[in-house]
Amino acid sequence: MLIYALVAGVLFGLYFSLVGIGLNLVFGVMRIVNLAHGDFLMLGAFVAFGIVTLAGIDPLFAVPLAFVVFLLVGVLLYWVLVPRLQGSVNPEMLSIILFFGLSQVIEAITTIFSGTSERSIQSRLLGTVFSTIKVKLFGGKPGPAGPVHIFGQGFPAPWVIAAGTSLLAIALVYVYLYRTRMGTLTRAVMSRRDEALATGIDVDRISAAAFGIGLGLAAVAGVFAPFMFGSVTPAFGADATVTSFAIVVLGSLGNPLGTALGGVVYGVCYMMVQTYLSSWADLLPYVLLIFILLLRPSGLLGRRVRVA
Protein backbone atom coordinates (compact mmCIF):
# COMPACT_ATOMS: atom_id res chain seq x y z
CA MET A 1 0.00 0.00 0.00
CA LEU A 2 2.70 2.47 1.03
CA ILE A 3 5.04 1.41 -1.79
CA TYR A 4 2.18 1.61 -4.26
CA ALA A 5 1.31 5.14 -3.12
CA LEU A 6 4.98 6.19 -3.28
CA VAL A 7 5.64 4.84 -6.78
CA ALA A 8 2.30 6.12 -8.09
CA GLY A 9 3.13 9.45 -6.49
CA VAL A 10 6.46 9.64 -8.31
CA LEU A 11 4.87 8.66 -11.64
CA PHE A 12 2.10 11.23 -11.21
CA GLY A 13 4.63 13.73 -9.91
CA LEU A 14 6.76 13.50 -13.03
CA TYR A 15 3.66 14.09 -15.07
CA PHE A 16 2.67 17.03 -12.84
CA SER A 17 6.11 18.55 -13.48
CA LEU A 18 5.33 18.53 -17.19
CA VAL A 19 1.98 20.16 -16.40
CA GLY A 20 3.67 23.00 -14.54
CA ILE A 21 6.88 23.55 -16.47
CA GLY A 22 5.34 25.64 -19.28
CA LEU A 23 3.75 27.99 -16.78
CA ASN A 24 7.08 28.32 -15.01
CA LEU A 25 8.86 29.28 -18.20
CA VAL A 26 6.27 31.92 -19.14
CA PHE A 27 6.17 33.52 -15.70
CA GLY A 28 9.94 33.38 -15.29
CA VAL A 29 10.70 35.06 -18.59
CA MET A 30 7.85 37.55 -18.96
CA ARG A 31 6.63 38.15 -15.40
CA ILE A 32 3.12 37.61 -16.67
CA VAL A 33 0.68 35.12 -15.25
CA ASN A 34 -0.75 32.82 -17.89
CA LEU A 35 -4.09 32.08 -16.31
CA ALA A 36 -5.11 30.33 -19.53
CA HIS A 37 -2.40 27.67 -19.00
CA GLY A 38 -4.92 25.01 -18.03
CA ASP A 39 -6.99 25.78 -21.12
CA PHE A 40 -4.04 25.03 -23.38
CA LEU A 41 -3.73 21.74 -21.51
CA MET A 42 -7.38 21.10 -22.33
CA LEU A 43 -6.78 21.95 -26.00
CA GLY A 44 -3.88 19.49 -26.03
CA ALA A 45 -6.29 16.82 -24.85
CA PHE A 46 -8.58 17.70 -27.75
CA VAL A 47 -5.68 17.23 -30.18
CA ALA A 48 -5.37 13.71 -28.79
CA PHE A 49 -9.13 13.12 -29.25
CA GLY A 50 -8.80 14.37 -32.83
CA ILE A 51 -5.89 12.05 -33.59
CA VAL A 52 -7.72 9.05 -32.19
CA THR A 53 -11.12 9.68 -33.81
CA LEU A 54 -9.94 10.99 -37.19
CA ALA A 55 -6.78 8.98 -37.86
CA GLY A 56 -7.34 6.09 -35.46
CA ILE A 57 -3.67 5.88 -34.51
CA ASP A 58 -1.76 5.87 -31.23
CA PRO A 59 -2.40 9.12 -29.31
CA LEU A 60 1.37 9.33 -28.76
CA PHE A 61 1.56 10.80 -32.27
CA ALA A 62 -0.42 13.76 -30.92
CA VAL A 63 2.62 14.75 -28.80
CA PRO A 64 4.79 16.24 -31.57
CA LEU A 65 1.75 17.57 -33.41
CA ALA A 66 0.39 19.36 -30.32
CA PHE A 67 3.82 20.79 -29.52
CA VAL A 68 4.40 22.25 -32.98
CA VAL A 69 0.86 23.62 -33.36
CA PHE A 70 0.86 25.34 -29.99
CA LEU A 71 4.42 26.60 -30.39
CA LEU A 72 3.18 28.53 -33.43
CA VAL A 73 -0.03 29.59 -31.66
CA GLY A 74 2.05 30.86 -28.74
CA VAL A 75 4.42 32.93 -30.88
CA LEU A 76 1.44 34.44 -32.67
CA LEU A 77 -0.46 35.16 -29.45
CA TYR A 78 2.65 36.72 -27.94
CA TRP A 79 2.87 39.34 -30.66
CA VAL A 80 -0.84 40.13 -30.44
CA LEU A 81 -1.09 40.42 -26.65
CA VAL A 82 2.11 40.84 -24.74
CA PRO A 83 3.97 43.94 -26.09
CA ARG A 84 0.83 46.02 -25.58
CA LEU A 85 0.40 44.59 -22.07
CA GLN A 86 4.03 45.28 -21.12
CA GLY A 87 3.46 48.94 -21.97
CA SER A 88 0.76 49.37 -19.31
CA VAL A 89 1.23 50.59 -15.75
CA ASN A 90 1.04 47.27 -13.92
CA PRO A 91 1.55 44.40 -16.39
CA GLU A 92 1.81 41.66 -13.75
CA MET A 93 -1.67 42.36 -12.32
CA LEU A 94 -3.33 43.17 -15.62
CA SER A 95 -1.92 39.97 -17.16
CA ILE A 96 -4.00 37.97 -14.67
CA ILE A 97 -7.16 39.62 -15.93
CA LEU A 98 -6.13 39.54 -19.59
CA PHE A 99 -5.36 35.84 -19.57
CA PHE A 100 -8.49 35.13 -17.58
CA GLY A 101 -10.35 36.71 -20.50
CA LEU A 102 -8.40 34.52 -22.91
CA SER A 103 -9.26 31.40 -20.91
CA GLN A 104 -12.95 32.35 -21.07
CA VAL A 105 -12.71 32.76 -24.84
CA ILE A 106 -10.97 29.39 -25.27
CA GLU A 107 -13.47 27.62 -23.02
CA ALA A 108 -16.43 29.22 -24.82
CA ILE A 109 -15.15 28.36 -28.30
CA THR A 110 -14.40 24.77 -27.31
CA THR A 111 -17.89 24.44 -25.81
CA ILE A 112 -19.51 25.89 -28.94
CA PHE A 113 -17.76 23.34 -31.14
CA SER A 114 -17.81 20.25 -28.95
CA GLY A 115 -20.44 20.57 -26.22
CA THR A 116 -19.92 20.18 -22.48
CA SER A 117 -19.87 16.39 -22.28
CA GLU A 118 -16.97 14.53 -20.72
CA ARG A 119 -14.59 12.86 -23.14
CA SER A 120 -12.17 10.07 -22.57
CA ILE A 121 -9.92 7.79 -24.62
CA GLN A 122 -9.60 4.06 -24.02
CA SER A 123 -6.34 3.73 -22.16
CA ARG A 124 -5.18 0.68 -24.12
CA LEU A 125 -4.85 2.87 -27.23
CA LEU A 126 -1.89 4.73 -25.75
CA GLY A 127 1.41 3.04 -26.48
CA THR A 128 0.11 0.68 -29.19
CA VAL A 129 3.02 1.90 -31.27
CA PHE A 130 5.43 0.20 -28.85
CA SER A 131 3.70 -3.15 -28.97
CA THR A 132 3.48 -2.94 -32.79
CA ILE A 133 7.24 -2.35 -33.03
CA LYS A 134 7.84 -5.20 -30.63
CA VAL A 135 5.72 -7.51 -32.78
CA LYS A 136 7.49 -6.39 -35.98
CA LEU A 137 10.97 -6.93 -34.55
CA PHE A 138 10.60 -9.93 -32.31
CA GLY A 139 7.48 -11.60 -33.56
CA GLY A 140 4.85 -12.80 -31.12
CA LYS A 141 1.20 -11.93 -30.86
CA PRO A 142 -0.13 -8.34 -30.85
CA GLY A 143 -2.23 -7.88 -27.75
CA PRO A 144 -3.24 -5.20 -25.29
CA ALA A 145 -0.29 -4.00 -23.21
CA GLY A 146 -0.72 -5.18 -19.64
CA PRO A 147 0.13 -3.22 -16.53
CA VAL A 148 3.78 -2.35 -15.99
CA HIS A 149 5.39 -3.93 -12.92
CA ILE A 150 7.55 -1.82 -10.62
CA PHE A 151 8.64 -3.17 -7.20
CA GLY A 152 6.18 -6.00 -7.60
CA GLN A 153 3.18 -3.72 -8.04
CA GLY A 154 1.21 -3.28 -11.25
CA PHE A 155 0.71 0.21 -12.66
CA PRO A 156 -1.35 1.20 -15.71
CA ALA A 157 0.93 1.51 -18.76
CA PRO A 158 -0.29 5.08 -19.63
CA TRP A 159 1.03 6.35 -16.28
CA VAL A 160 4.49 5.01 -17.04
CA ILE A 161 4.44 6.35 -20.60
CA ALA A 162 3.30 9.80 -19.42
CA ALA A 163 6.01 9.86 -16.75
CA GLY A 164 8.66 8.84 -19.31
CA THR A 165 7.58 11.51 -21.78
CA SER A 166 7.64 14.08 -18.99
CA LEU A 167 11.19 13.12 -18.04
CA LEU A 168 12.24 13.49 -21.66
CA ALA A 169 10.51 16.88 -21.98
CA ILE A 170 12.13 18.20 -18.80
CA ALA A 171 15.53 17.03 -20.01
CA LEU A 172 14.97 18.82 -23.31
CA VAL A 173 13.97 22.04 -21.54
CA TYR A 174 17.15 21.75 -19.46
CA VAL A 175 19.24 21.30 -22.62
CA TYR A 176 17.51 24.27 -24.23
CA LEU A 177 18.11 26.56 -21.26
CA TYR A 178 21.66 25.56 -20.38
CA ARG A 179 23.24 24.23 -23.59
CA THR A 180 21.99 26.52 -26.36
CA ARG A 181 22.58 30.18 -27.16
CA MET A 182 18.85 30.95 -27.10
CA GLY A 183 18.69 29.37 -23.65
CA THR A 184 21.51 31.54 -22.33
CA LEU A 185 19.72 34.62 -23.62
CA THR A 186 16.47 33.38 -22.09
CA ARG A 187 18.13 33.03 -18.70
CA ALA A 188 19.56 36.54 -19.07
CA VAL A 189 16.05 37.91 -19.66
CA MET A 190 14.77 35.90 -16.67
CA SER A 191 17.22 37.39 -14.23
CA ARG A 192 17.12 41.06 -15.35
CA ARG A 193 14.81 42.10 -18.13
CA ASP A 194 15.92 45.72 -18.43
CA GLU A 195 19.62 44.92 -18.30
CA ALA A 196 19.14 42.27 -20.96
CA LEU A 197 17.45 44.92 -23.09
CA ALA A 198 20.35 47.32 -22.47
CA THR A 199 22.92 44.70 -23.55
CA GLY A 200 21.20 44.51 -26.92
CA ILE A 201 19.36 41.21 -26.51
CA ASP A 202 16.21 41.04 -28.61
CA VAL A 203 13.99 40.55 -25.57
CA ASP A 204 10.78 40.29 -27.58
CA ARG A 205 12.10 37.48 -29.77
CA ILE A 206 13.37 35.52 -26.76
CA SER A 207 10.11 36.04 -24.90
CA ALA A 208 8.02 35.02 -27.90
CA ALA A 209 10.04 31.79 -28.17
CA ALA A 210 9.62 31.12 -24.44
CA PHE A 211 5.89 31.80 -24.65
CA GLY A 212 5.53 29.42 -27.61
CA ILE A 213 7.52 26.69 -25.87
CA GLY A 214 5.48 27.19 -22.71
CA LEU A 215 2.18 26.71 -24.52
CA GLY A 216 3.61 23.80 -26.51
CA LEU A 217 4.62 22.01 -23.30
CA ALA A 218 1.18 22.64 -21.81
CA ALA A 219 -0.43 21.07 -24.86
CA VAL A 220 1.91 18.05 -24.65
CA ALA A 221 0.89 17.59 -21.03
CA GLY A 222 -2.71 17.88 -22.17
CA VAL A 223 -2.34 14.94 -24.55
CA PHE A 224 -1.93 12.67 -21.52
CA ALA A 225 -4.64 14.36 -19.44
CA PRO A 226 -7.46 12.01 -20.56
CA PHE A 227 -5.37 9.05 -19.32
CA MET A 228 -4.21 10.59 -16.04
CA PHE A 229 -7.49 12.20 -14.96
CA GLY A 230 -9.97 9.82 -16.61
CA SER A 231 -11.81 12.36 -18.73
CA VAL A 232 -11.65 15.98 -19.87
CA THR A 233 -14.31 18.67 -20.36
CA PRO A 234 -13.90 22.22 -21.71
CA ALA A 235 -14.19 23.47 -18.12
CA PHE A 236 -11.18 21.38 -17.03
CA GLY A 237 -8.79 24.31 -17.57
CA ALA A 238 -9.42 26.33 -14.41
CA ASP A 239 -8.57 23.54 -11.95
CA ALA A 240 -5.53 22.57 -13.99
CA THR A 241 -4.27 26.15 -13.76
CA VAL A 242 -4.43 26.25 -9.96
CA THR A 243 -2.74 22.84 -9.70
CA SER A 244 0.01 24.02 -12.04
CA PHE A 245 0.53 27.06 -9.86
CA ALA A 246 0.88 24.94 -6.76
CA ILE A 247 3.54 22.86 -8.49
CA VAL A 248 5.46 25.82 -9.90
CA VAL A 249 5.50 27.69 -6.62
CA LEU A 250 6.43 24.51 -4.76
CA GLY A 251 9.51 24.18 -6.96
CA SER A 252 10.85 27.57 -7.81
CA LEU A 253 10.50 30.10 -10.54
CA GLY A 254 12.68 29.99 -13.61
CA ASN A 255 14.32 26.68 -12.72
CA PRO A 256 13.12 23.60 -14.62
CA LEU A 257 14.78 21.25 -12.13
CA GLY A 258 12.85 23.05 -9.38
CA THR A 259 9.59 22.33 -11.15
CA ALA A 260 10.54 18.67 -11.53
CA LEU A 261 11.16 18.45 -7.78
CA GLY A 262 7.98 20.41 -7.02
CA GLY A 263 5.97 18.07 -9.21
CA VAL A 264 7.32 14.94 -7.54
CA VAL A 265 6.77 16.35 -4.02
CA TYR A 266 3.26 17.32 -5.02
CA GLY A 267 2.54 13.95 -6.63
CA VAL A 268 3.73 11.97 -3.60
CA CYS A 269 1.73 14.18 -1.19
CA TYR A 270 -1.31 13.84 -3.42
CA MET A 271 -1.13 10.04 -3.53
CA MET A 272 -0.50 9.82 0.23
CA VAL A 273 -3.53 11.97 1.06
CA GLN A 274 -5.58 10.15 -1.57
CA THR A 275 -4.68 6.81 0.04
CA TYR A 276 -5.04 7.65 3.71
CA LEU A 277 -7.44 10.65 3.95
CA SER A 278 -9.34 10.57 0.71
CA SER A 279 -12.15 13.01 1.59
CA TRP A 280 -9.61 15.80 2.25
CA ALA A 281 -7.57 15.21 -0.92
CA ASP A 282 -9.28 18.09 -2.79
CA LEU A 283 -8.01 20.57 -0.23
CA LEU A 284 -4.36 19.60 -0.61
CA PRO A 285 -3.22 21.69 -3.62
CA TYR A 286 -4.69 24.88 -2.16
CA VAL A 287 -3.46 24.48 1.38
CA LEU A 288 -0.02 23.38 0.17
CA LEU A 289 0.15 26.41 -2.16
CA ILE A 290 -0.73 28.87 0.61
CA PHE A 291 1.74 27.38 3.10
CA ILE A 292 4.59 27.31 0.61
CA LEU A 293 3.87 30.90 -0.43
CA LEU A 294 3.91 32.03 3.17
CA LEU A 295 6.85 30.02 4.44
CA ARG A 296 9.14 29.98 1.41
CA PRO A 297 7.88 32.31 -1.32
CA SER A 298 10.98 31.47 -3.34
CA GLY A 299 10.15 27.76 -3.51
CA LEU A 300 12.18 24.73 -2.48
CA LEU A 301 15.20 25.48 -4.67
CA GLY A 302 14.82 29.23 -5.11
CA ARG A 303 16.91 32.08 -3.85
CA ARG A 304 14.82 35.06 -4.89
CA VAL A 305 12.39 36.36 -2.26
CA ARG A 306 9.30 38.26 -3.28
CA VAL A 307 7.51 39.94 -0.42
CA ALA A 308 5.62 43.20 -0.23
Binding site: F27, V33, L81, R84, L85, S88, V89, N90, E92, M93, L94, S95, I96, I97, L98, F100, G101, L102, S103, Q104, V105, I106, E107, A108, I109, T111, I112, A238, V242, F245, A246, V249, S279, W280, D282, L283, P285, Y286, V287, L289, I290, L293, L294, P297, R306, V307, A308
Partner: protein, 306 residues
Amino acid sequence: MPSSLKHLLFMVVPLVVIFAVLPGVYQNHLLLFNFVIFLILAQGVNIIYGFTGYLPFGYVGFFGAGAYGFAIMVMQYQTPAVLAVIVAGLVGVALGLLLTPLLRLSGAYFAIANLAASLAVLHFVANPALESVTRGPYGVALSGTFDPNMAYAAAVVVMALTLVFVVFLKNSRFGLALQAVREDSVSASMAGVDVVRMRVIAWLASALVAGLAGGVYAWYVSVFYPDNVFSGDFSIFAIVFALFGGVATITGPIIGVIMLYGIYNLIGFTAPQYFQLIYGLLIMGLVLFLPAGLVSLATRRGWHVP
Protein backbone atom coordinates in the same frame (compact mmCIF):
# COMPACT_ATOMS: atom_id res chain seq x y z
CA MET B 1 -19.42 72.64 1.09
CA PRO B 2 -16.71 70.02 1.77
CA SER B 3 -16.30 67.54 -1.06
CA SER B 4 -17.19 64.54 1.13
CA LEU B 5 -20.61 66.07 1.82
CA LYS B 6 -21.00 66.82 -1.89
CA HIS B 7 -20.19 63.19 -2.77
CA LEU B 8 -22.68 61.93 -0.20
CA LEU B 9 -25.47 64.26 -1.32
CA PHE B 10 -25.07 63.93 -5.06
CA MET B 11 -23.98 60.31 -5.49
CA VAL B 12 -24.67 58.09 -2.49
CA VAL B 13 -28.09 59.46 -1.51
CA PRO B 14 -29.58 59.39 -5.04
CA LEU B 15 -28.29 55.88 -5.71
CA VAL B 16 -29.67 54.55 -2.42
CA VAL B 17 -33.03 56.29 -2.98
CA ILE B 18 -33.27 54.93 -6.53
CA PHE B 19 -32.65 51.37 -5.40
CA ALA B 20 -35.02 51.78 -2.44
CA VAL B 21 -37.85 53.00 -4.69
CA LEU B 22 -37.31 50.82 -7.78
CA PRO B 23 -38.96 47.60 -6.44
CA GLY B 24 -42.27 49.49 -6.32
CA VAL B 25 -41.99 50.37 -10.01
CA TYR B 26 -40.07 47.51 -11.58
CA GLN B 27 -41.23 43.89 -11.35
CA ASN B 28 -37.99 41.89 -11.57
CA HIS B 29 -37.08 41.92 -7.88
CA LEU B 30 -34.26 39.36 -8.18
CA LEU B 31 -32.52 41.39 -10.88
CA LEU B 32 -32.56 44.53 -8.73
CA PHE B 33 -31.24 42.54 -5.80
CA ASN B 34 -28.37 41.21 -7.90
CA PHE B 35 -27.55 44.75 -9.00
CA VAL B 36 -27.30 45.81 -5.35
CA ILE B 37 -25.11 42.79 -4.49
CA PHE B 38 -22.72 43.52 -7.35
CA LEU B 39 -22.60 47.22 -6.43
CA ILE B 40 -21.50 46.16 -2.93
CA LEU B 41 -18.94 43.62 -4.18
CA ALA B 42 -17.50 45.96 -6.83
CA GLN B 43 -17.00 48.65 -4.18
CA GLY B 44 -15.45 46.03 -1.88
CA VAL B 45 -12.94 45.18 -4.61
CA ASN B 46 -12.44 48.91 -5.09
CA ILE B 47 -11.50 49.30 -1.41
CA ILE B 48 -8.78 46.67 -1.54
CA TYR B 49 -7.61 46.79 -5.17
CA GLY B 50 -8.23 50.45 -5.95
CA PHE B 51 -6.77 51.88 -2.78
CA THR B 52 -4.06 49.35 -1.87
CA GLY B 53 -3.22 47.58 -5.16
CA TYR B 54 -3.82 44.04 -3.89
CA LEU B 55 -5.85 42.09 -6.46
CA PRO B 56 -8.28 39.84 -4.49
CA PHE B 57 -8.71 37.07 -7.02
CA GLY B 58 -10.50 34.91 -4.47
CA TYR B 59 -12.77 37.66 -3.15
CA VAL B 60 -15.72 35.27 -3.29
CA GLY B 61 -14.19 33.41 -0.32
CA PHE B 62 -15.46 36.13 2.03
CA PHE B 63 -18.83 36.21 0.30
CA GLY B 64 -19.33 32.47 0.59
CA ALA B 65 -18.03 32.40 4.17
CA GLY B 66 -20.57 35.12 5.02
CA ALA B 67 -23.38 33.16 3.38
CA TYR B 68 -22.43 30.06 5.37
CA GLY B 69 -22.04 32.13 8.55
CA PHE B 70 -25.63 33.26 8.07
CA ALA B 71 -26.84 29.73 7.31
CA ILE B 72 -25.13 28.18 10.35
CA MET B 73 -26.46 30.86 12.71
CA VAL B 74 -30.00 30.31 11.42
CA MET B 75 -29.82 26.50 11.24
CA GLN B 76 -27.95 25.73 14.46
CA TYR B 77 -28.93 28.62 16.75
CA GLN B 78 -32.24 29.84 15.25
CA THR B 79 -31.13 33.46 15.53
CA PRO B 80 -33.14 36.27 13.88
CA ALA B 81 -32.00 37.07 10.35
CA VAL B 82 -30.64 40.56 11.07
CA LEU B 83 -28.34 39.24 13.80
CA ALA B 84 -27.24 36.44 11.48
CA VAL B 85 -26.31 39.00 8.79
CA ILE B 86 -24.12 40.83 11.31
CA VAL B 87 -22.50 37.52 12.24
CA ALA B 88 -21.96 36.89 8.52
CA GLY B 89 -19.99 40.14 8.34
CA LEU B 90 -17.94 39.07 11.37
CA VAL B 91 -17.24 35.69 9.74
CA GLY B 92 -15.91 37.62 6.75
CA VAL B 93 -13.66 39.67 9.05
CA ALA B 94 -12.49 36.52 10.86
CA LEU B 95 -11.52 34.90 7.56
CA GLY B 96 -9.82 38.16 6.60
CA LEU B 97 -7.81 38.07 9.84
CA LEU B 98 -6.86 34.45 9.18
CA LEU B 99 -5.61 35.47 5.75
CA THR B 100 -3.74 38.64 6.76
CA PRO B 101 -0.37 36.84 6.38
CA LEU B 102 -1.12 36.79 2.65
CA LEU B 103 -0.58 40.55 2.58
CA ARG B 104 3.13 39.81 2.91
CA LEU B 105 3.05 38.54 -0.66
CA SER B 106 3.16 40.93 -3.56
CA GLY B 107 1.69 41.17 -7.01
CA ALA B 108 0.61 38.00 -8.72
CA TYR B 109 1.65 35.88 -5.70
CA PHE B 110 -1.01 37.54 -3.58
CA ALA B 111 -3.68 37.12 -6.25
CA ILE B 112 -2.93 33.41 -6.71
CA ALA B 113 -2.69 32.74 -2.97
CA ASN B 114 -6.02 34.49 -2.44
CA LEU B 115 -7.59 32.38 -5.20
CA ALA B 116 -6.20 29.23 -3.58
CA ALA B 117 -7.54 30.38 -0.20
CA SER B 118 -11.07 30.82 -1.54
CA LEU B 119 -10.96 27.38 -3.15
CA ALA B 120 -9.64 25.90 0.10
CA VAL B 121 -12.59 27.42 2.00
CA LEU B 122 -14.98 26.05 -0.63
CA HIS B 123 -13.60 22.51 -0.36
CA PHE B 124 -13.58 22.79 3.43
CA VAL B 125 -17.24 23.84 3.59
CA ALA B 126 -18.33 21.31 0.96
CA ASN B 127 -16.53 18.41 2.64
CA PRO B 128 -18.95 15.55 3.38
CA ALA B 129 -17.12 14.99 6.68
CA LEU B 130 -18.63 18.27 7.99
CA GLU B 131 -22.17 17.42 7.00
CA SER B 132 -23.53 17.90 10.53
CA VAL B 133 -22.36 21.55 10.57
CA THR B 134 -22.49 22.88 7.01
CA ARG B 135 -24.59 20.12 5.38
CA GLY B 136 -21.56 19.52 3.14
CA PRO B 137 -22.14 19.38 -0.60
CA TYR B 138 -25.89 18.91 -0.20
CA GLY B 139 -26.64 22.60 0.26
CA VAL B 140 -28.72 24.44 2.82
CA ALA B 141 -32.42 25.36 2.84
CA LEU B 142 -33.46 28.17 5.19
CA SER B 143 -37.22 28.34 4.84
CA GLY B 144 -37.73 29.87 8.31
CA THR B 145 -36.16 33.26 7.53
CA PHE B 146 -37.35 33.58 3.92
CA ASP B 147 -38.35 37.23 3.39
CA PRO B 148 -37.17 38.77 0.09
CA ASN B 149 -38.43 42.27 0.88
CA MET B 150 -36.56 42.55 4.19
CA ALA B 151 -33.45 40.99 2.65
CA TYR B 152 -33.58 43.52 -0.18
CA ALA B 153 -33.86 46.36 2.32
CA ALA B 154 -30.87 44.95 4.23
CA ALA B 155 -28.88 44.79 0.98
CA VAL B 156 -29.62 48.46 0.28
CA VAL B 157 -28.46 49.34 3.82
CA VAL B 158 -25.21 47.40 3.33
CA MET B 159 -24.71 49.15 -0.01
CA ALA B 160 -25.22 52.55 1.64
CA LEU B 161 -22.67 51.73 4.37
CA THR B 162 -20.15 50.54 1.76
CA LEU B 163 -20.57 53.69 -0.31
CA VAL B 164 -20.16 55.88 2.76
CA PHE B 165 -16.90 54.09 3.56
CA VAL B 166 -15.63 54.60 -0.01
CA VAL B 167 -16.53 58.30 0.18
CA PHE B 168 -14.57 58.44 3.43
CA LEU B 169 -11.57 56.77 1.75
CA LYS B 170 -11.74 59.15 -1.17
CA ASN B 171 -11.81 62.26 1.04
CA SER B 172 -9.73 61.45 4.12
CA ARG B 173 -6.09 61.44 5.12
CA PHE B 174 -6.50 57.70 5.66
CA GLY B 175 -7.46 57.09 2.02
CA LEU B 176 -4.68 59.35 0.82
CA ALA B 177 -2.17 57.44 2.98
CA LEU B 178 -3.44 54.15 1.49
CA GLN B 179 -2.90 55.40 -2.04
CA ALA B 180 0.56 56.59 -1.09
CA VAL B 181 1.33 53.08 0.20
CA ARG B 182 0.01 51.61 -3.06
CA GLU B 183 2.27 53.80 -5.16
CA ASP B 184 5.46 53.43 -3.12
CA SER B 185 5.32 51.72 0.25
CA VAL B 186 8.91 52.57 1.23
CA SER B 187 8.49 56.32 0.67
CA ALA B 188 5.12 56.23 2.41
CA SER B 189 6.56 54.57 5.50
CA MET B 190 9.38 57.13 5.58
CA ALA B 191 6.74 59.85 5.49
CA GLY B 192 5.32 58.39 8.70
CA VAL B 193 2.55 56.14 7.36
CA ASP B 194 2.02 52.91 9.30
CA VAL B 195 2.04 50.70 6.19
CA VAL B 196 1.05 47.40 7.78
CA ARG B 197 -1.83 48.81 9.85
CA MET B 198 -3.23 50.73 6.87
CA ARG B 199 -3.25 47.67 4.63
CA VAL B 200 -4.78 45.42 7.27
CA ILE B 201 -7.61 47.89 7.96
CA ALA B 202 -8.45 48.20 4.25
CA TRP B 203 -8.25 44.41 3.86
CA LEU B 204 -10.58 43.76 6.81
CA ALA B 205 -13.02 46.46 5.67
CA SER B 206 -13.23 44.84 2.27
CA ALA B 207 -13.69 41.41 3.90
CA LEU B 208 -16.46 42.80 6.14
CA VAL B 209 -18.31 44.22 3.14
CA ALA B 210 -18.17 40.91 1.27
CA GLY B 211 -19.21 38.95 4.38
CA LEU B 212 -22.25 41.18 4.91
CA ALA B 213 -23.15 40.87 1.22
CA GLY B 214 -22.87 37.07 1.52
CA GLY B 215 -25.15 37.04 4.56
CA VAL B 216 -27.77 39.17 2.83
CA TYR B 217 -27.51 36.98 -0.27
CA ALA B 218 -28.10 33.83 1.81
CA TRP B 219 -31.10 35.51 3.43
CA TYR B 220 -32.54 36.42 0.02
CA VAL B 221 -32.07 33.16 -1.88
CA SER B 222 -32.48 30.91 1.21
CA VAL B 223 -31.65 27.73 -0.77
CA PHE B 224 -28.10 27.33 -2.05
CA TYR B 225 -25.18 24.94 -2.54
CA PRO B 226 -21.50 25.56 -1.81
CA ASP B 227 -20.80 25.86 -5.54
CA ASN B 228 -23.37 28.68 -5.83
CA VAL B 229 -22.05 30.98 -3.14
CA PHE B 230 -18.36 30.19 -3.79
CA SER B 231 -18.71 30.53 -7.55
CA GLY B 232 -15.62 32.19 -9.00
CA ASP B 233 -17.95 34.30 -11.12
CA PHE B 234 -18.59 36.57 -8.13
CA SER B 235 -14.89 37.47 -7.81
CA ILE B 236 -14.42 37.87 -11.53
CA PHE B 237 -17.55 39.92 -12.10
CA ALA B 238 -16.79 42.21 -9.18
CA ILE B 239 -13.20 42.74 -10.37
CA VAL B 240 -14.17 43.29 -14.00
CA PHE B 241 -17.01 45.67 -13.11
CA ALA B 242 -14.72 47.72 -10.87
CA LEU B 243 -11.93 47.78 -13.46
CA PHE B 244 -14.26 48.60 -16.33
CA GLY B 245 -15.47 51.74 -14.60
CA GLY B 246 -12.13 52.61 -13.08
CA VAL B 247 -10.81 51.86 -9.58
CA ALA B 248 -9.83 54.29 -6.82
CA THR B 249 -12.89 56.41 -7.66
CA ILE B 250 -16.41 56.41 -6.24
CA THR B 251 -18.21 56.56 -9.58
CA GLY B 252 -16.10 54.06 -11.54
CA PRO B 253 -17.37 50.81 -10.00
CA ILE B 254 -20.97 52.12 -10.03
CA ILE B 255 -20.78 52.90 -13.75
CA GLY B 256 -19.10 49.55 -14.37
CA VAL B 257 -21.82 47.54 -12.61
CA ILE B 258 -24.73 49.39 -14.19
CA MET B 259 -23.32 49.20 -17.72
CA LEU B 260 -21.78 45.72 -17.76
CA TYR B 261 -24.36 43.94 -15.62
CA GLY B 262 -27.05 45.68 -17.64
CA ILE B 263 -25.52 44.34 -20.88
CA TYR B 264 -25.19 40.93 -19.26
CA ASN B 265 -28.91 40.81 -18.59
CA LEU B 266 -29.80 42.18 -22.02
CA ILE B 267 -27.83 39.44 -23.79
CA GLY B 268 -29.64 36.94 -21.60
CA PHE B 269 -28.82 33.46 -20.44
CA THR B 270 -30.14 31.44 -23.38
CA ALA B 271 -26.69 30.62 -24.78
CA PRO B 272 -24.15 30.85 -21.97
CA GLN B 273 -21.18 29.89 -24.13
CA TYR B 274 -21.79 32.79 -26.56
CA PHE B 275 -22.10 35.09 -23.61
CA GLN B 276 -18.85 33.69 -22.19
CA LEU B 277 -17.15 34.34 -25.53
CA ILE B 278 -18.34 37.97 -25.70
CA TYR B 279 -17.41 38.46 -22.07
CA GLY B 280 -13.91 37.05 -22.53
CA LEU B 281 -13.29 39.25 -25.56
CA LEU B 282 -14.61 42.26 -23.65
CA ILE B 283 -12.23 41.59 -20.76
CA MET B 284 -9.26 41.24 -23.11
CA GLY B 285 -10.17 44.42 -24.99
CA LEU B 286 -10.56 46.26 -21.70
CA VAL B 287 -7.08 45.31 -20.48
CA LEU B 288 -5.40 46.02 -23.81
CA PHE B 289 -7.07 49.29 -24.72
CA LEU B 290 -8.52 50.83 -21.56
CA PRO B 291 -6.52 49.50 -18.59
CA ALA B 292 -7.50 52.40 -16.32
CA GLY B 293 -11.24 52.03 -16.93
CA LEU B 294 -13.94 54.21 -18.44
CA VAL B 295 -13.21 57.14 -16.14
CA SER B 296 -9.75 57.44 -17.70
CA LEU B 297 -11.49 58.72 -20.83
CA ALA B 298 -12.49 61.74 -18.76
CA THR B 299 -9.36 62.09 -16.63
CA ARG B 300 -7.19 62.04 -19.75
CA ARG B 301 -8.95 65.23 -20.83
CA GLY B 302 -8.17 66.78 -17.47
CA TRP B 303 -11.67 66.48 -16.01
CA HIS B 304 -11.87 65.55 -12.36
CA VAL B 305 -13.87 62.39 -11.65
CA PRO B 306 -14.83 61.76 -8.02
